[in-house]
Symmetry: C2
Subunit: 342 residues, 2 copies
DNA sequence: CTGTTAGCGCTTTCAA
DNA sequence: TTGAAAGCGCTAACAG
């Protein structure tokens, strides 16, 4: 068990040929005789040769690797987005480095430096809660490395992004509640420095306005998107001096927490309170039967974003065109199984 | 916005010094005068220099990168294990490449090749459901790249691993049910080609034996660890011609599904059926109040495994010593909040 | 179809 | 304390 790396030179020497030929053969170049190729391939597998991508990539100044930055890989939405990203990337011959910012700007910054040092060909990013602008992406811009935001994006400058129409979705969600006879509608919101939550809030407000329902500050309950925030939010909501009979929840994780607590304190959904929340294809079955959802496909967003990025990488002409792709959402109304059960 | 990479040579040329000195300075070598260092660092930041790790790693034959292979990053347990891994790795100056096998042996194989090609310094792996042995790790062995199994491991040859005592934990879990007056105890099991599920099954069986409870084949219900399997399993369990009043669930994801379905069909826990299942620090609050858990710390397992791996990497003498570290679990009994509520 | 040569950007002897 | 030179393993002209 010796540690020596087998290189193309070793193979070349053994076979009494030149290492360039070995290189060509291993890259399946048409400019090598089939017989030589066979010989080389056989020897390579025999010796357990494994190309050194560091050397190869260095030489080619191309890594076929994409960096992906998400706040947290375990979140339903991001997990499904990653599924879409990986699928698309692999199909196009790209590898993917998945990194989590854990909602920290500093970590996001560090990750970008690492990706830069590793010469990724492009970056997909969904920003952390702490991130207020794209200053820390300067390195990418300077080095002309294309990047695409997905879902959580920056609004501080023009960039390529793949998002849903948060305003519209929130508007529709709130409208749906109103049409379901909800008259007092709370909004569990997210960090207001994130565009998506800003827009969801705006959509909520606009719908109220349209139907002449007075907006009340105290019905908007914000949080940092942890599951236990759901419980906290519900408690705040229940402590109001009047009864809330509708809830638009801007985040799925919070929604899960909220629904669980509502069940626990025996508040019936949707009879006591109707809920509309965001969801996606991988979300836990907890939430599914409980409420009407705005289906936001992480898989699709991931796929679309990756295609856009790879496009930017390969078409130099597209590289500097900033475009926004809006992925459709749809409202899925569910027969609440909670009605019978709870 | 030109695309030219800034190299140490550029900096050297501008400053009229040699690139070796620049290299040394940027690596904070003590063999460079502080004045020169300052000059170089200033110029480097001014130009937005960013080291090319491909070149650096190639030269050093060392990447300070660990490969991590898990079945699925979105699973509670693996997400928390990854948290532990990253924390430990970063602390020691290592980066981490996270890969998911999606329970496919073929993908696992491909991932290993990619990691090999990228010359990672070591690998942490929790095997897929399809993986029956460690044949596909041959490349790692051959190249003398250390690897450590965590949680899901192979038993087909001696390897380093960080695991819990599955037999003991399962035994204790089942014993607990018996002491809680459960007389007919079902076991929701996992794929029997995985050691951990084999051992959990053995522990279950051994406990029954100790207390002279007859073992029944049909009480052992296996699945492929999806959340909806929980529901399927419960249905199978309920279709038995006798009443089951205890359940030892060998997997948390299945447990979540099972508990939800049990709630749905209004079976009271623990009155109608007492449950013990595995859990860990990040698990959804869904499961928490419902049952007694065997607390299996992903964070700790990740941390321990990473330390072991880094140790193997740096101490050549340890490299070929295979050791098994058993991380303690503990049984956490919960006051079931379901009792009052449901 | 194959060989020669140069060099990707960095680190690391060895020398001064 | 700095410089010169070699080379990590690979690919890509260019030549033949």
């Amino acid at each position: 068990m010796d540690n020596t790396e087998i290189t193309i030179h070793d193979i070349a020497e053994i076979l009494g040929i030149n290492s360039s030929t070995v290189s060509r053969a291993l890259n399946n170049s048409p400019r090598v005789a089939q017989k030589t190729k066979d010989k080389i391939l056989e020897k390579a597998t025999e010796l357990g040769y494994q190309r050194n991508d560091l050397a190869s990539n260095l030489r080619k100044s191309k890594t076929f690797t994409l960096g992906v930055i998400v706040p947290r890989i375990s979140r339903h939405f991001f997990a499904s987005a990653i599924a879409g990203i990986e699928e698309t990337a692999f199909k196009e011959g790209y590898n993917v480095i998945i990194c989590q910012s854990l909602e920290s700007l500093e970590r996001e910054q560090r990750i970008i430096n690492t990706l830069l040092a590793n010469r990724v060909d492009g970056v997909l990013i969904s920003i952390s809660m702490e991130t207020k602008n794209d200053d820390h992406l300067f390195g990418l811009k300077q080095r002309n490395i294309p990047y695409v935001f997905f879902d959580r994006h920056c609004n501080t400058s023009i960039n390529s992004k793949v998002v849903i129409d948060d305003f519209e979705a929130a508007f529709r969600a709130t409208e749906h509640l109103i049409q379901q006879k909800s008259t007092v509608i709370a909004h569990f919101s997210g960090p207001q420095n994130l565009e998506i939550y800003k827009n969801r809030f705006k959509g909520y407000k606009a719908a109220l306005e349209k139907y002449s329902i007075p907006f009340k500050e105290e019905l908007v309950i914000s949080s940092s998107l942890m599951e236990h925030d759901g419980e906290e939010n519900v408690k705040k909501m229940l402590s109001l001096p009047y009864k809330v009979n509708g809830l638009f929840c801007a985040n799925d994780v919070v929604a899960i927490g909220a629904i669980q607590y509502l069940k626990k304190v025996q508040i019936k959904m949707p009879d006591d309170i109707a809920i509309v929340g965001f969801s996606n294809e991988t979300i836990s079955s907890v939430i599914e039967p409980a409420l009407t959802t705005i289906n936001q496909s992480g898989l699709e967003i991931g796929t679309v974003a990756t295609n856009l990025l790879i496009n930017k990488i390969s078409n130099a002409s597209n590289k500097n065109i900033d475009e926004t792709i809006i992925v459709k959402t749809n409202l899925i109304e569910r027969k609440s199984s909670l009605r019978e059960v709870n």
